[in-house]
Amino acid sequence: MAAFMLSRRTAVLCRTLKGISASKTVLPANSQCGLLLQTASYNPRPLRLNIRDPYIPDKDSEKTPEWQKTAKYDRKLFGRYGSASGIDPASLWPSHKELDKIIAEENEWHPPLEVMLKNIAIKEKAETEKRLAKEKLIAANMAKMPKMVADWRRQKREAKLKLKEEKARRTKLLAEARERFGYAVDPRSPKFLEMVAEIEKEEKKKKKLLKRRLKEEQAAGVVQPPPTSS
């Protein structure tokens, strides 16, 4: 407020404010100025209001342009010339209809503070929930990790072993074939395949025999101990 004091046109404004609040005597600006110790100030632009020779357009004549008959121009006239412009001050404010429109627009586009705070709270809650769910998922998966790592490693080892076994088996068969036929046989040829089938049959027979023997031994073993124990 004090900064207003120093300049001519803002001093006018200050006096008007003082005037309205008191609505009787206008306090002189000096009474406030005396307390200040201003060393420098700015020079405001002079306000050329042109009160002596105002141009107030004739509303009824046809020669005046349309834009000088609008409500906006009327307000500007009032702003420049005051009551000398001959405009009813009541028209400066929006009419009831316009006011309704304004209120509806404001309610739509500018929700009150409580509504906004609620929306913000909801959004924050959703965000934190999402984040927590994600972190939970990550934690659960990380807990599973050692087991998964061990499984994978085991799988890899087994696969490697299998490959090795396969290779060994193949070399053995090739060696067998080499012995039998006397020359290097192509593993894809039908001879080789026949040989492989024969070997497999022999192995199966051997296994069966082994199984029978094991069973007999087991049966014999089961029968023998009871008589000795009793």
Binding site: A3, L13, P89
Partner: protein, 295 residues
């Protein structure tokens, strides 16, 4: 008897006795500045390095970035990431504490009254352009160590160091929001009053800015006053100064002056029409209008 030799010797004597360095004593290293060679015939002449005919020689080349008519590269590539939406982002003109102290010292800004954006613009301390997505002024902590003024200042954004520096000196900071129309009215009040419109209500900030202005750490105007007091104490502890008690201050009434949430000017309520020529304020009497403007 051998005197101990002073270190440096003649060089230090010369340095101490030479006059102070000014622009008049300085000269560039010989050979560092090559003179501009004029194009005066033989190989500098004929076409003078401009090429043969065409826009090149005649100096009519199009602007930088023009690619003959198709959409240029700098327009065809869309913005994303860091630069996306940069033209829609709110901007705040920085105001350093150094500049504020300078303005106060020169008497352009009055510290015995609340300092508002209007005061700063009147003092020509800052220039705000609401049409360039400026939403106001932000306090920056440059000059926090030399700041020594007790003020009641209202800005749109403030850094923590700036708030600490002001409160350390017994002042008060508030951050408040002005929507673009209110900002335009705030920085140029007199042209607004000449328009003859009633003072509008200040709108509330958007949802993205409400958390900032309801936070006591930022001294937001929508925050709880008790929380602001707690935040003042916490900040004093953090920055290591004793918080002066402003309630015992002689200027306590001025320091506690705060604008209403919907108010643009101190002492003027929304809905009033200020007339400069007749030095009058007109207030509405209709109930509906009063209800709207005071809600």
């Amino acid at each position: 008897m051998s005197f101990p030799k002073k270190p440096g010797g003649k060089a230090t004597d010369i340095l101490q006795n030479l006059p102070r360095i000014t622009l008049a004593n300085l000269r560039p290293e010989p050979g560092s500045k090559k003179l501009w060679k004029r194009l005066l015939a033989s190989h500098g002449g004929n076409r003078s390095g401009r090429g043969h005919k065409g826009e090149r020689q005649r100096g009519n080349r199009p602007r930088l970035g023009f690619v003959g008519g198709s959409t240029p590269f700098y327009l065809a590539i869309p913005k994303y990431g860091y630069n996306e939406g940069h033209s829609c982002r709110p901007q705040y003109q920085p105001l350093s504490l150094k500049r504020l102290q300078y303005l106060i010292d020169l008497g352009r800004v009055d510290p015995t009254q609340p300092i508002d954006l209007t005061q700063l613009v009147n003092a020509r301390g800052v220039t705000v352009q609401p049409l360039k997505r400026d939403y106001g002024v932000q306090l920056v902590d440059e000059g926090a160590d030399i700041f020594a003024a007790k003020i009641n200042i209202e800005v749109q954004r403030a850094s923590e160091g700036a708030i600490a520096a002001i409160e350390r000196n017994g002042g008060v900071v508030t951050t408040s929001f002005y929507d673009p129309i209110s900002l335009g009215i705030l920085i140029k009040p007199v042209p607004f009053f000449l328009r003859g419109q009633p003072i509008p209500r200040r709108m509330l900030p958007g949802e993205d800015m409400v958390p900032y202005y309801t936070n006591a750490e930022n001294r937001g105007y929508l925050a709880d006053p008790e929380k602001i007091q707690q935040a003042r104490l916490a900040l004093a502890q953090k920055y290591g100064y004793i918080l002066p008690d402003i309630s015992k201050d002689e200027l306590y009434h001025m320091l506690s002056m705060r604008k209403d949430v919907r108010q643009i000017f101190f002492g003027l309520a929304p809905g009033w029409v200020v007339n400069m020529t007749e030095k009058k304020i007109l207030k509405p009497t209709d109930e509906k209008l009063l209800k709207y403007y005071s809600s």
